[in-house]
C-alpha cells in the first residue's frame, strides 16, 4: 500500500463524515467562488476590446440633467472620436410597475447606433428596417425571448418621467456579448411627443478611434464644455457602469467581509473534522510509529487527508458556481457578473487546498508528537 492510497483510504474511512465535510466545504467554496467571480468581473476585467474604446459623456451634475443636442457635433469634431451617438433614458413601465417587468429603454440615433456597438450582432436588413420606421425599436434577443416578442410585434411602454407612452414596432433583435435586457428606439419619437425634450440628450456614447485616443478624448470632451452652462463628465464605459455599482454601497467591503467569513468558516469545519478523525485514530498513530514511520510522515499523512477532503469540496463547489454563473450570464444585467472564469476556479481550488493544509496543521502536529506508549494506552 503506497502512502497516497493510504491517505485516500483514510479520507473516506468514515464515509458519512467525509461526505458531510466535503458538502460543508463545498457550499462555502461555492460562495467564495461566486464572490471572487464578482470581484474579478467588476474590478479586474477591462471589458471587451470594443468596450474599452467606448466613453460615456453625461451632465457633470448628474445623469438626471440633460445636455443640448448640438454637443454631439462638437464632440464629433474632437480628434480621435470615431462615432458619437446620443442616449436617453426613458424609464417607462411595461405591463406593470413590478421589478420583474423592469428593463431599460433608451432613445438613440438608429443611423449610427450600431457603429458604436460594433460587436453586437444584428442582421443588416433589421438595422435598415429600424432606421426606416420612426416608431421602430431593436431589442435584446434575450429580452425578446423572455416576453416572447417577435419581429413586427407592437409593444406599449407607459412613460413615467415623460408624459407620453411609447408604441414601438420591433424591427430587429440584437445579441450583445453580455445580455443588456434593453430596448433601443428612435430618440425623435420622444422629442416629437414631449416638447421639452426637443434638442435635449441625456448622455452621449463615444467610440474612440484607437486605445491611445481614449484618454485624450476623455479630457478633450470635458474641456470643450467646461465653461458652458451644461458642463460634462466623461468616463470610460466600464467606469460609468461601476458608478452605478458604487451607488449600492460599499460593495468591495461587503464582498471582502463575506469572503473572510467564508474562509474562516471553512477553516473551522475542516479543523473540526480533522480533530475528530485524529482523536479516533490515536492508537493507530502509535502503531504507525511503532512500525517505524517518522513524525514527519505521520504529520504528512494527516495533512494530506485534510487537503484531499478540502480539494474535493473546493472542486465540487466551484463547478456548481461555474454552472450558476453560466445560468446567470444568460439573465444579463448585473447578474452577468456571476460569470465564473476557469482561472477563478483554479484560485478557489488553491484556496481550498491551503485551507485544508492550515486547518490540519495543529491537530496533526499534536498527533505526530504523541508518545507511542501513551498512544497505545489511549482509549477512544
Amino acid at each position: 500500500m503506497t502512502l497516497t492510497s493510504f491517505v485516500r483510504k483514510n479520507a473516506f474511512r468514515n464515509l458519512r463524515r467525509s461526505i458531510l465535510t466535503v458538502l460543508s466545504i463545498g457550499f462555502s467554496l461555492l460562495l467564495l467562488t461566486l464572490m471572487m467571480a464578482i470581484w474579478r468581473n467588476f474590478y479586474m476585467e477591462k471589458g471587451s476590446e470594443e468596450s474599452a474604446l467606448r466613453l460615456v459623456t453625461r451632465h457633470k451634475v448628474s445623469l438626471v440633467f440633460s445636455m443640448p443636442s448640438y454637443y454631439r457635433e462638437k464632440i464629433r469634431a474632437i480628434p480621435g472620436v470615431a462615432v458619437v451617438v446620443p442616449g436617453n433614458w426613458f424609464g417607462g413601465v411595461y405591463k406593470d410597475d413590478k421589478s420583474g417587468n423592469f428593463f431599460a429603454q433608451f432613445g438613440t440615433d438608429p443611423d449610427e447606433f450600431f457603429k458604436v456597438y460594433k460587436e453586437w450582432k444584428i442582421p443588416d436588413d433589421q438595422i435598415t428596417a429600424w432606421q426606416r420606421d420612426r416608431a421602430g425599436a431593436v431589442v435584446d434577443s434575450e429580452l425578446a425571448k423572455k416576453y416572447g416578442w417577435k419581429i413586427g410585434q407592437r409593444i406599449i411602454i407607459t412613460g413615467t418621467i415623460f408624459p407620453t407612452n411609447l408604441e414601438l414596432n420591433i424591427r430587429g433583435l440584437f445579441t450583445a456579448p453580455q445580455p443588456t435586457q434593453a430596448v433601443y428606439f428612435n430618440q425623435k419619437y420622444v422629442e416629437e411627443a414631449v416638447p421639452f425634450m426637443k434638442g435635449q440628450q441625456g448622455f452621449y456614447t463615444i467610440l474612440a478611434s484607437s486605445a491611445a485616443d481614449v484618454p485624450k478624448v476623455n479630457r478633450a470632451v470635458d474641456d470643450t464644455f467646461r465653461n458652458s452652462p451644461q458642463p460634462t463628465k466623461t468616463e470610460t464605459e466600464k467606469a460609468f457602469q461601476l458608478g452605478f455599482l458604487a451607488m449600492l454601497g460599499n460593495v468591495k467591503a461587503f464582498i471582502l467581509s463575506i469572503c473572510g467569513a467564508v474562509v474562516f468558516a471553512i477553516l473551522l469545519v475542516s479543523a473540526n473534522t480533522m480533530a475528530m478523525s485524529i482523536r479516533e485514530r490515536t492508537r493507530e498513530v502509535a502503531v504507525l510509529k511503532t512500525l517505524g514511520f517518522t513524525r514527519g510522515t505521520v504529520l504528512g499523512l494527516f495533512v494530506g487527508e485534510a487537503v484531499v477532503l478540502a480539494l474535493i469540496g473546493g472542486i465540487g463547489g466551484s463547478v456548481v458556481a461555474y454552472l450558476i454563473g453560466m445560468g446567470a450570464a444568460k439573465a444579463g444585467g448585473f447578474a452577468g457578473a456571476l460569470h465564473v472564469k476557469v482561472a477563478t476556479m483554479a484560485v478557489a481550488w488553491a484556496a481550498a487546498a491551503f485551507m485544508g493544509f492550515f486547518s490540519a496543521l495543529v491537530p496533526s502536529y499534536t498527533a505526530s508528537r504523541l508518545g507511542i506508549v501513551d498512544g497505545l494506552r489511549h482509549i477512544g
Binding site: 463524515r17 460543508s24 457550499f27 451634475v61 438626471v64 458604487a246 449600492l248 467569513a261
Partner: protein, 388 residues
C-alpha cells in the same frame, strides 16, 4: 420520561474544542445573516417613519417619484385653493411647492462620488416637516443662496459644515445649518430655497412636487383623491407616508443577494453541525444504550439529541449577536431606486425583529443538523451499542 437538560449541557462542556469550533462556525453564519437583516431593518425604518400622515404629496400624473414629475407652477395656484388644507400661523394655506434634483458630492473619506438629493422648498416646507429639528446653526433664509444639510450628510461628505460653501448648480451655496431628521429619509437631503434652486437648475416655472397639509386624516384622504380627480391639474396625490413606504423596495437588491449568501452559508453550517452531532452520537453509543436500558424511551433520546444540537446553534447565535452588536447604529448608504440618489440609514441590530429572526435562523440550522444524528441515535439496537 425526558432526559434532563443538564445532561446535554454537560456533554457540550465535555468536548469543549468541538463545541466551540462548531458554535463559532454557526456564529459566523448568524453574523452574516444578522448583518443583512440589520441593513434591511435600518432601511425600512428610514422609509417607514418618514412623513406626516396629514401631508399629501403631489406629483404629475403618471410619475412615480418627485424626481420625474415636474408640473407647471400655475397648477400650484389651483392646489392652494383646494378645500381641507390647514392654515399656518399667518393664516395662509400650509403648502409648499418644491424642487428636487440630484447632485454629485464627493465622499469625505475620498472613496468616490455619491448622488445626493437637493430639495428646494418654500418657507412652509419647514413647518410641514415638524419632526425635523435644527441641530446646529439656523434655517436657510428665503431669497439667499443658503442651504441646510442633514446630520448624516454633514458627517459623510466634505464641505458640509456650518460656514462651508458647497459647489453645485451655477455657483456656491453657503451651509448655514445642520438638521436632525431622526433617521428618516430626509436624513439624506440638502435643503434650500425653492426659487434659488429653480433658477440654478433652469427649472423656472415648474415644481417637482407639492406638499399640502390637511386639517385632519379624513381631509387628507379627501384631498389626495381630489387632487387626482381634478381634470384641470393632471396631477396625482398620495399621502407622504405612503410615498416613502413604497421606496423600501430600494433594498430589494441587498435583500436578494443577502438572503442568497445567508442561505448558502446556512446550508454549509448545517452540514458542519450534523458532522459534530454524528460524532457526539458515535462517542456516546454505549451511553445511549445504557440510557435505553435504564428505561428512557426512543422519543426522549431523539428529543434530547435534537435539543443538544439546537443548544449548540443557540450558543452560536449568541456569539454571532455579540459580534454584531458593536455595529448597531452604524450609518451607511445605498442607492434609492426611486430617486437615484443615496439614502442614508443606520444598521438596526438591536431590534426585536432582527434578533428574533437571527435566533430563529440559528434554531433552523440546529434542527437541520441535529435531526438525522438524533434519529440515528434513537434507532440503535441496545445490544449492539452496548457491545461497541
Amino acid at each position: 420520561m425526558a432526559i434532563p437538560i443538564s445532561y446535554n449541557i454537560r456533554n457540550l462542556k465535555l468536548r469543549k474544542g468541538l463545541t466551540v469550533m462548531t458554535a463559532l462556525g454557526i456564529a459566523l453564519t448568524v453574523t452574516t445573516a444578522l448583518f443583512i437583516m440589520a441593513l434591511l431593518a435600518g432601511l425600512q425604518k428610514a422609509f417607514k417613519t418618514t412623513g406626516n400622515p396629514l401631508n399629501v404629496m403631489v406629483v404629475r400624473k403618471g410619475s412615480t417619484s418627485e424626481l420625474t414629475g415636474p408640473f407647471p407652477a400655475d397648477n400650484f395656484g389651483t392646489l392652494k385653493t383646494l378645500p381641507g388644507i390647514a392654515k399656518n400661523a399667518a393664516g395662509e394655506p400650509l403648502v409648499s411647492g418644491e424642487t428636487v434634483v440630484v447632485i454629485v458630492l464627493p465622499r469625505a473619506d475620498g472613496s468616490g462620488e455619491v448622488n445626493v438629493s437637493v430639495r428646494g422648498m418654500m418657507q412652509n416646507g419647514l413647518a410641514l416637516r415638524g419632526g425635523v429639528k435644527l441641530a446646529q446653526g439656523r434655517w436657510f433664509t428665503p431669497g439667499q443662496r443658503e442651504v441646510v444639510v442633514s446630520e448624516s450628510i454633514h458627517k459623510r461628505f466634505s464641505h458640509a459644515n456650518v460656514g462651508d460653501t458647497m459647489e453645485f448648480g451655477k455657483g456656491s451655496w453657503q451651509v448655514v445649518g445642520i438638521f436632525d431628521a431622526g433617521g428618516t429619509a430626509y436624513e439624506s437631503e440638502v435643503w434650500g430655497d425653492v426659487n434659488q434652486m429653480n433658477s440654478d437648475f433652469d427649472r423656472q416655472g415648474v415644481y417637482s412636487s407639492a406638499y399640502l397639509r390637511a386639517t385632519d386624516p379624513v381631509a387628507a384622504a379627501a384631498l389626495k383623491n381630489r387632487v387626482g380627480d381634478d381634470q384641470r391639474l393632471k396631477l396625482d396625490g398620495s399621502l407622504e407616508t405612503e410615498y416613502y413606504a413604497k421606496q423600501t423596495s430600494s433594498g430589494s437588491v441587498i435583500k436578494f443577494i443577502g438572503l442568497l449568501v445567508a442561505a448558502i452559508m446556512a446550508i454549509g453550517s448545517s452540514f458542519a453541525a450534523m458532522n459534530t452531532m454524528y460524532a457526539a452520537v458515535a462517542y456516546r453509543s454505549r451511553e445511549i444504550a445504557t440510557l435505553r436500558v435504564i428505561g428512557f424511551s426512543r422519543p426522549s433520546i431523539l428529543t434530547s439529541f435534537v435539543f443538544e444540537a439546537v443548544l449548540l446553534s443557540l450558543l452560536g447565535a449568541a456569539v454571532g449577536i455579540v459580534l454584531m452588536l458593536p455595529f448597531n447604529g452604524m450609518t451607511t448608504g445605498t442607492s434609492n431606486q426611486v430617486t437615484f440618489s443615496e439614502v442614508v440609514f443606520s444598521l438596526q441590530v438591536w431590534s426585536p425583529w432582527v434578533i428574533g429572526s437571527a435566533v430563529l435562523f440559528a434554531i433552523v440550522m440546529g434542527l437541520a443538523g441535529g435531526i438525522f444524528p438524533a434519529w440515528h441515535a434513537s434507532r440503535r439496537e441496545i445490544l449492539a451499542a452496548l457491545r461497541d
